[in-house]
Symmetry: C2
Subunit: 365 residues, 2 copies
């Protein structure tokens, strides 16, 4: 194995792949990156057996071959080299890397010991605009559960049906749903581990291309540009959350999103002793949305923002962190905060962001 | 106690003081800030019994008085308020803070329970340009020891004598010394805890004024702008390090500082198993300074940079982290790396930065 590659390309490939090999891995070889010199290109692969990321870069290959090298060391080393050409030359299991006045040799482990990558056993395939998918995933992934006791809730649902893709996640205290359109005639319910979504967002990066999605019963593959991510699906049946989404509201308050975010953050400082409980009151008389913390040992806070109110007034008590995360997922200037009574789910939506809703269950205080 | 103050001023005062009250404090009241409304000004004080910081801001005082309030909550709360006037009004031990549509009440602890601040029992006083002192402290503080077994080495020495101020610190593996001039006729050896220097640098900030230094046998006070920091001195006799500083060198290599820093960082990645050991070789023939890591399980690295060599060639083995930190303290483009033989101290200096030297003891490998 002998080849010439640019520092920029190799650094980018390591940026896209190495992280997967840097977690807590059961097998030592999973801390390595598989590097294969093929015809005119270099392939880098990292896997933690849950997901695998492959990235291809152009390279001048003199002698094909493959080896696995420590991911963290490679990423730090290549990232610190000056830009320009890098020579890679393998002798036994020792890779000599030369760039200008830098020369290093890194001890690898034979490629034959690297686990075989999963393959998609189906022709199901659809494309989504990279920017649209990235935004949609960012808007739903944060409300997935991090608690493994109900594994299905650690997934982001990707429900493909009727020329629509519905992305959803819920930890049973809150729920995000985003609907985007598709030309595809396919129909499928895919359960993507939320933990894979961070890696997926990284490889999508600022791409303006199309993300190609392939899937079978057990796995989903996302391909964009020179990168490809395969993840296993989460087992189980996703709960039928649709019944939970209220369709009509007694109270609808339209407010400036940034202003609501700011008063929520300030009030949350006083809500630490009460596990983040804050009470939102829609006041018809003053035309305001008010936020109060409960009185605690440190003190209490109340703040308000102007609101355009449809329907009647009312109040509801929710977790301030959930509200902060939900508001941060919207990009429009105004949002609607809607609810029926103090025990029913609150819905946050925006006329400027159709297809996206966020639901927060109230606290029974 | 009742007053009006701007968010900008109160936020700045909290930025300068609150951190001292946010460490691990033995007494609960030390997590609070003492706030005193005096004539036309508000005084904020935080102390951890080692150091105390006082900051004054202008305020419209209606009723004088004082109270202590939780430092962390105050800093986060005031920092998140919009700019503009803030009303503070004390009733019993409850402080009501109002700003536009925000209103909060914070429970305090009576000011009478706050510890009394130390005072300087002497008229010794000198002034140093704030920028000059900030740079000098930054250049020496990092080589102070963090090991309490020899307390005197956890101090930065400030030796005032013969119209010079010599700042020095050493952890016995390396040493920094910076000499600045002064008009003062005073003579004193002050031992400032290195841990106080971070706070001092924060209150100096971007000030272009003069820092006034007052001291007695036990304490030192630094006053700049509206802030004042008093610290206890470290007990003990500072070692006479001067004898250790070599005056002549067999090997002097002048190199580009950024280039040396880069090759040191890259090589240090390969030196983790050997506790950071790297060998620097000055090669008269190739006119290069070369850096090598020792061969280890992960591999090894060598890199070089062009050098102007005075004297002969040679090599020395040192800790890569010490070299990285030392080089980062220089601001000039070129530095001189000087040594005598592989067991004698290395000296780093720069013709463009007179008065500053850094010494690293070699590793006996």
């Amino acid at each position: 194995m002998k080849l010439l590659v640019t520092q920029e390309n190799l650094n980018k490939a390591l940026h896209h792949t190495a992280k997967v090999a840097m977690g807590r891995n059961s097998l030592p070889i999973l801390n390595n990156i598989l590097i294969s010199a093929e015809i005119n290109q270099l392939k880098l692969v990292a896997t933690n057996l849950e997901i695998a990321i492959t990235h291809y870069i152009g390279a001048k290959i003199s002698t094909p071959g493959s080896i696995t090298l420590p991911a963290r060391l490679m990423q730090e080393f290549i990232g610190n080299l000056p830009s320009g050409p890098i020579d890679l030359s393998l002798s036994g299991q020792k890779m000599t890397i030369t760039s200008g006045k830098y020369s290093s040799s890194i001890n690898g482990i034979g490629a034959e010991e690297y686990p075989e990558l999963p393959k998609i056993a189906s022709d199901n395939e659809l494309g989504i605009d990279a920017k649209e998918l990235k935004k949609a995933l960012s808007q739903v992934v944060f409300s997935a559960s991090s608690d493994d006791s109900r594994p299905v809730l650690t997934a982001v649902l990707m429900n493909i049906a009727d020329h629509k893709i519905t992305l959803a996640s819920t930890d049973s205290y809150r729920l995000s749903e985003k609907i985007i359109k598709t030309d595809s005639n396919l129909s499928a319910k895919l359960l993507i581990p939320a933990s894979a979504v961070a890696d997926l967002l990284r490889i999508i990066g600022d791409s303006e291309e199309t993300v190609t999605i392939k899937y079978d019963d057990n796995q989903v593959c996302f391909a964009v540009g020179e990168s490809e991510l395969i993840t296993r699906q989460v087992d189980g049946e996703y709960p039928n959350y649709q019944a939970l989404v209220p369709k009509e509201f007694k109270v609808v308050a339209s407010v400036d999103k940034d202003e609501l975010l700011r008063i929520t953050k300030v009030t949350s400082l006083f809500a630490r002793e009460s596990a983040g409980s804050i009470t939102l009151t829609v006041d018809e008389l003053t035309k305001e949305l008010k936020i109060n913390s409960l009185a605690s040992q440190v003190g209490e806070n109340s703040a308000s923002t102007a609101a355009t109110i449809k329907g009647e007034g009312g109040f509801v008590t929710i977790n301030s962190r959930y509200l902060i995360e939900a508001l941060s997922a919207f990009s429009s200037k105004n949002i609607d905060f809607c609810f029926n009574d103090k025990l029913a789910p609150c819905v946050i939506s925006s006329a400027k962001e159709p297809g996206y809703i966020h639901i927060i269950m109230p606290l029974k205080s």
